[in-house]
Symmetry: C2
Subunit: 142 residues, 2 copies
DNA sequence: CTGTATCCCCAGTGATACTG
DNA sequence: CAGTATCACTGGGGATACAG
């Protein structure tokens, strides 16, 4: 299994895209003002990724369902991530006044849009995970 | 500015992709054995992203050049990330036996391949960052 | 059931100094 | 110049108990 070669043409295209993105951000711009870093820090967080992926697979999930699926996450972190992901608009929270209370989370359209791009990335990772494993073994052997 | 609507057809396609990725991982699978989580944790780390993006724009960078560009990163963290990114195969390190020593970092073909997908994601973020800002304001107003 | 509150802990981080 | 070594720190995260 090999990664297909990235051509020079593609590299130039990539460089242009990066320039467009970062062109207006000079090196002195503070961390707080770098929206990419800020937004990606949440949206590409290891827990957020799993939450979003699961909500992409199961259209609606409740708190404890998510907790079971996102293996190893604590109440606190799950609660925080859900709140922040809701704040940024990726998902919606709907509480039903039942006893006991029922709360349902689902992706918003915005969240689905993000998921599409995220999935391209995780698919790449999934495809080439064995290469990375090999790379690590080679590196360890040095 | 609006995010374009994700159709039901697209959602189904996404769900299938997720199933394909996670199908073989059942909920009991331990964290260590979840390659997605492991690999993404490094490759979508906030520092790694910036390192890779800068190396996508400047084909070759030296240690201190990177340190200046990746604003706020410390010696230790930069050194660690570079080592790990090299280990996983995203970038190559070349040391020249000069005095003082010169070390050059650049993306491998594997790194360029990853960058293409990563860039799709960061472009999405860049495009919709204002929506997220609005979402946060709305949320704060509740 | 869905969280919040509390406490504790340590791994990752930043700063600084130093070496090949 | 390119890192490593050291150390102090802090805030994210885990476990648990509890509340609405």
């Amino acid at each position: 299994m090999e990664v297909e070669t990235v051509t020079d043409y593609q590299k130039v295209k990539v460089a242009k895209k990066i320039k467009k993105m970062f062109g207006h951000i000079n090196p002195q711009t503070s961390i707080e003002l770098c929206p990419i870093r800020d937004i990606m820090a949440l949206a590409s967080d290891k827990w957020s990724i799993l939450i979003i992926l699961y909500l992409g697979f199961f259209p609606v999930l409740r708190f404890n369902q998510l907790k079971k699926k996102v293996f190893g996450i604590s109440n606190k972190v799950l609660s925080e991530r859900l709140k922040t992901l809701e704040r940024d608009g990726y998902l919606s929270r709907k509480a039903y006044a039942e006893v006991p209370i029922r709360v349902e989370y689902q992706l918003t359209n915005f969240g689905h849009s993000y998921l599409q791009k995220l999935l391209d990335l995780t698919e790449w990772v999934d495809t080439y995970k064995d290469i990375i494993r090999e790379n690590r073994l080679k590196y360890g052997a040095l």
